[in-house]
Symmetry: D2
Subunit: 128 residues, 4 copies
Amino acid sequence: MTSPTQDHGARPAPAGAPDVLAELTGAVRAFAAERRWEPFHTPKNLVMALSVEASELVEIFQWMTPEQAAAVMADEKTGEHVREEVADVLAYLLGLCDVLGIDPAQALRDKMVKNARKYPVPPAPVES
Amino acid sequence: MTSPTQDHGARPAPAGAPDVLAELTGAVRAFAAERRWEPFHTPKNLVMALSVEASELVEIFQWMTPEQAAAVMADEKTGEHVREEVADVLAYLLGLCDVLGIDPAQALRDKMVKNARKYPVPPAPVES
Amino acid sequence: MTSPTQDHGARPAPAGAPDVLAELTGAVRAFAAERRWEPFHTPKNLVMALSVEASELVEIFQWMTPEQAAAVMADEKTGEHVREEVADVLAYLLGLCDVLGIDPAQALRDKMVKNARKYPVPPAPVES
Amino acid sequence: MTSPTQDHGARPAPAGAPDVLAELTGAVRAFAAERRWEPFHTPKNLVMALSVEASELVEIFQWMTPEQAAAVMADEKTGEHVREEVADVLAYLLGLCDVLGIDPAQALRDKMVKNARKYPVPPAPVES
């Protein structure tokens, strides 16, 4: 039996192809530059802002039951709130990667290789 | 003078271009599925995990001076640690978007339109 | 009927009573001083450390069901872990208050007065 | 030479003395009970709320220089904001300890004993 880990996995996009993360990173960078926010966007400040935005996501869910949390997107206003906080987390994550020179997609591909060794796939149940 | 906001901005990648976020989301989803982690990956649990990973980034920077933080990638071991925590934040963010049915790139494009109204570009300094 | 809010409420301890927060704050301060950590214990760094410790508490609970979370202290090892992270949060909270000159007990008493106005007690159910 | 660690340290309050943490914990408990919030105040939800409040403290400081952060209490409005967020963190910490049956003061005393072993006091500089 072929392990399913050999059938998928994160693969780099073809060389030269436009990349949605590069597009979004450029937009985030330009947004900050136009407003002259770069002096504030130090790595230390950006990790703080990233964690604050992640907590704003947590705040939406903190008093919900698991059932309410699972249905969060069904309520239009709350769903939009979640989308906005997701966007804020992504914006600061890309901004941080930009100032640090990190390629977030490659960082994730590398981390998944490492995690696959740390958490091996459990054996498939035996079919009888 | 043309406002710089009209010259860039987050635009969708051309149709047919490979979408690195879709690729990474698929890899994150398969990783969890192979390990039968889906029952744990509820929205409420994923936002908690996301905020925990964001705090692990904060932990790296918490005692650094601004100067040390700016040079964080110059130290190979610390730089690799930062890359790994960035990857973990991205993994949980994509996993959360996947279970909630959110397109993170479009969420960020929409949020930047909203933010551009909230934070107008200041007038350019007058040239004399 | 007398409102229950008039029957209790946070009241200062009687004059002369030992103040456990002052005791603990003194211990936290001396611990940092002996190790010459004061230059690192700036307000900005301490709020980062506080939030990191709070997230270490979240990490313990992130994959638990509500039932598992409710029984967390029944497992000796996990219960001790929770106690230690609670201690770390309290230590940084007291350290932060110390460097900022905030009396945490009085801050909480004042906040509860404000919160009582913000969240009025709902009317008691009518007895029939 | 007597080690400074023997001259101070967190000591329990005399048995039977009123305790500011017990007072505040009682007030926090009554506040939640009057509003019938207990069903929401599960350990998992309370750690989420605690981390969210800690992040609201971080939010105040995230764009400040170290100098601005050091002077944060000099601005009346910002200083009051800091006091309120400190109070919120303390309230959820005490509420969490209450539902879990943890004595936060004793937890901190125990943790400091452990930390003292982990981080030994460096030798005093030799006087010449």
